[in-house]
């Protein structure tokens, strides 16, 4: 069973995304892959754009494996968006390879927001 927890669900662009992925033992997996990425969903089938990936192999044989992670999001985004034609969606994806073509996958969406600027003089 996969669990994902994030320190915050709304992360400004360029900030650090921090969290932990958990794997509760139910068979010994070959590897555990964490992937953070975004997809823009319009009319065409969406394509996943990974910005970072972490592969844990071999996975320690314990009852509950915790993989903490932190990653700096790209400064230029994209920011999450829900418009009329298109959507931009970020997610953390955890994939556990159990061997024999067996896989367990879990995704947790989160929101990337514009970075607040304080030191900027308006005319």
């Amino acid at each position: 069973v996969i669990d994902i927890s994030l320190q915050q669900l709304h992360v400004p662009v360029g900030d650090w995304l921090k969290g932990t992925a958990w794997w509760t033992y139910s068979g010994h997996p070959r590897s555990m892959t964490l992937c953070v990425g975004w997809q823009s969903i319009g009319f065409d089938p969406p394509t996943h754009n990974p910005v970072a990936e972490l592969v844990v192999a071999p996975v320690p044989v314990v009852a509950r494996v915790a993989v903490p992670f932190e990653l700096q999001l790209p400064a230029e985004g994209p920011a999450s968006y829900h418009g009329k034609l298109i959507r931009i969606q970020w997610e953390v994806l955890v994939r556990v390879d159990l061997g024999l073509l067996l896989k367990e996958v879990k995704a947790l969406p989160f929101f990337v927001v514009p970075r607040p600027l304080t030191a900027f003089a308006q005319p």
Partner: protein, 259 residues
Amino acid sequence: MPMQQPRMPFLRQQASVLPLIATKPVPQGVLVVEQSHRRDLLMGVGVLAAFVGVMVLFMLGIMLYFLIFFGVAAALGAMLQGRWENVAHWAEMVRDNVSGTATIAGYVLLAFGAYAIVVLWRTELTATRAEPGELLVARWPLRLGQREQVRVRRKLRNLRVTRATATLVCEERASSGSGEADKIHVETVYTAPLPVSLVVAQKDYVELLTSLTIPQTGPPSFTTYNNSISWSLVVRLEVASFLPLESHFPILVLPEVLP
């Protein structure tokens, strides 16, 4: 058991999701040249090419029609008489009888040509009487919530500007399909008319000032191969005796928000 793997490595340097907008640094800020002027010129050339194409097709059609008509009618007349040596005589008779039709076809061609010339005059000539517009911004790129005064200028050739309007527009574009079935869907998600003050309105030069504010809750600029979010300033100049001149200036909005 927590693992000591705190940082995730970046897979690769991802391609920029911000649109590439050509700008030129100047002492007062940044200059953005409009992209729509070239399109106006191309439209004029396109109308001309379409006109020539239609005329050629039309004339070929008429020629073919008369060739068939002459041949069939003359052969039919000769066959009915049973005297094939009279084919030339029958052909002359047919030609004399259809000369009225040919005259009407000539008038149709003339009217079509006159209409095409008017269309050309109103599109091509308007575009050629103006240089591409220029947008002068003090700070570039813009941020969400940013208020900025911008200056728009354009060189003209004997055009009298009677009125100017400016609009801030945000559009979403999404493509679907591929190849010939490719279709681009466009949806305007934000539009706001802006106050405009004409600083100079001469026959050879126009300059205007406007103030725009990117809404705080709006989306930043974004582009991928099939989806995009684009901001632009649309400036429309009403000119006497010609079509209005419309300039589209792309604006780059970063994912940063001002308080």
